[in-house]
């Protein structure tokens, strides 16, 4: 077993974990942050996507010990109290979710995808979501949500 210290959503955690513990299981089982979902557990579906040091990764395919000393952001870390993150708000307003299972992963992937790309096209979004599957197949509104969030981000930076 190994002692790991990592920052999750701005808060520092130190725990002793099995070396073979997956980061997804660490987040869900140890930290009880269950917004990060496990859909396939085989790096296909993207339900488990989180950010490590600002980059989107599939947390079912990374070990907790590999995140030692790193900065982790999960879906729970996005909202500021009751104020949703712009990407969350866009999903809410555009009916970007149905059952909501894929949503945390979609949102974490989308945030990285639109960075610096206010004019991201429909095609670029669809391609950029290669790693995320929606079993309810509501892709149309997912794409719409992401496009709107990208535009809003542009307005914010232009102010």
């Amino acid at each position: 077993m190994t002692e790991v210290t990592l920052t999750v959503n701005g808060k520092k955690y130190t725990q002793v974990v099995f070396d073979h513990l997956l980061l997804a299981d660490f987040i869900r089982e140890k930290l009880k942050l269950t917004g990060t979902h496990i859909g396939c557990d085989t790096s296909q579906c993207g339900a488990c996507v989180i950010h490590v040091d600002g980059k989107s990764i599939k947390s079912c395919t990374m070990l907790a010990v590999q995140a030692d000393g790193r900065d982790v952001l999960t879906i729970e870390g996005l909202a500021d109290g009751d104020v949703l993150h712009p990407m969350q708000r866009a999903f809410h307003e555009n009916h970007g979710l149905q059952c909501g299972f894929c949503t945390p992963g979609m949102i974490m992937s989308a945030i990285e995808l639109i960075k610096g790309k206010p004019d991201i096209t429909d095609q670029e979004i669809r391609q950029g979501l290669e790693g995320n599957l929606c079993r309810c197949t509501g892709y149309q509104n997912i794409v719409k949500s992401i496009q709107e969030a990208a535009k809003n981000e542009n307005n914010l930076t232009n102010r």
């Binding site: 073979h20 085989t42 790096s43 296909q44 989107s56 599939k58 395919t61 070990l63 992937s109």
Partner: protein
């Protein structure tokens, strides 16, 4: 997963001595292939040796060759200004491996060591006659890829980097599996001053291979039209649920034409 110890050596020397310590020790880079294997309990390992602190994550120009560290991720290859100017074809190849999350973790060293018959990098390294640098020696691409999932690497040998010469023209074209993005067929065409080299991934029963027929035709005239009369035999090509061997044979020619056109347009 069976349990194992995860070790993080601070140098490649230390990693090497840890690896040679026991038979069931293994190095891990991006883990995009190895972790799924371990999850399925297809392998049992005593110590996993993480290479993240060994300083293998640099991209430099060394004596005119582009040198990419073994731990450089697919995303960093696709996004590097140096790679984009020195070797845009490999930057473009890297940008289409798997999905963004796979590219953020998966590495060039891990991909080459794994030698998946449908992986993208092996085609590029073989077509450009790259050199694989390891803890023991330098291995030319021609001698590196041995068979499906098999390379010239010894049990206790670690890839440290890859060097690539600069082709005059080059491009990669892939017919991706729509689910995984692995190549059903992938073609890397590279034109040098003295020769044209073409490597095919995703199709061969023994993994990546060079296609002499196409090389000869393109050496005469480096144009897509040079391939219009070419017929590739389906012997030795894979058949699976994604594509029959004769369909793969057809794709090889078609993708080679597109790759040549793309390399000329670039």
């Amino acid at each position: 997963m069976y349990s194992f110890n995860y070790l993080k050596p601070d140098s490649i020397k230390e990693a090497e001595s840890l690896l040679s310590g026991a038979d069931d020790n293994k190095v891990i880079s991006g883990g995009m292939t190895l972790l799924p294997t371990l999850k399925q309990r297809l392998a049992r390992i005593e110590n996993l040796i993480g290479l993240e602190k060994c300083g293998l994550d640099k991209i430099v120009l060394k004596e005119g060759l582009l040198n990419i560290g073994a731990m450089v991720t697919h995303f960093d290859v696709s996004n590097s200004a140096l790679v984009k100017t020195e070797n845009p074809a490999i930057a473009q190849l890297a940008s289409h491996i798997g999905d963004r999350q796979v590219r953020n973790r998966g590495t060039i060293g891990g991909s080459l060591a794994n030698n998946d018959p449908s992986a993208c990098y092996p085609a590029a390294i073989l077509a450009m006659s790259g050199t694989i640098h390891t803890t023991k020696r330098d291995i030319k691409a021609e001698n590196f890829f041995v068979d499906l999932f098999e390379t010239a690497l010894e049990e206790d040998e670690i890839i440290t980097s890859v060097s690539l010469p600069k082709p005059e023209r080059a491009a990669y074209e892939k017919f991706p599996n729509p689910a995984s993005r692995y190549a059903i067929v992938g073609i890397f065409v590279a034109k040098f001053d003295s020769e044209v080299r073409v490597a095919v991934t995703g199709a061969g029963e023994e993994g990546v291979f060079r296609c002499q027929q196409i090389e000869t035709a393109l050496s005469a005239r480096f144009l897509p039209e040079s391939l219009s009369e070419i017929n590739i035999s389906a012997d030795g090509l894979m058949s699976d649920i994604h594509a029959e061997a004769d369909y793969r044979a057809h794709l090889i020619v078609e993708l080679a034409k597109r790759a040549v056109a793309k390399s000329i347009a670039r």
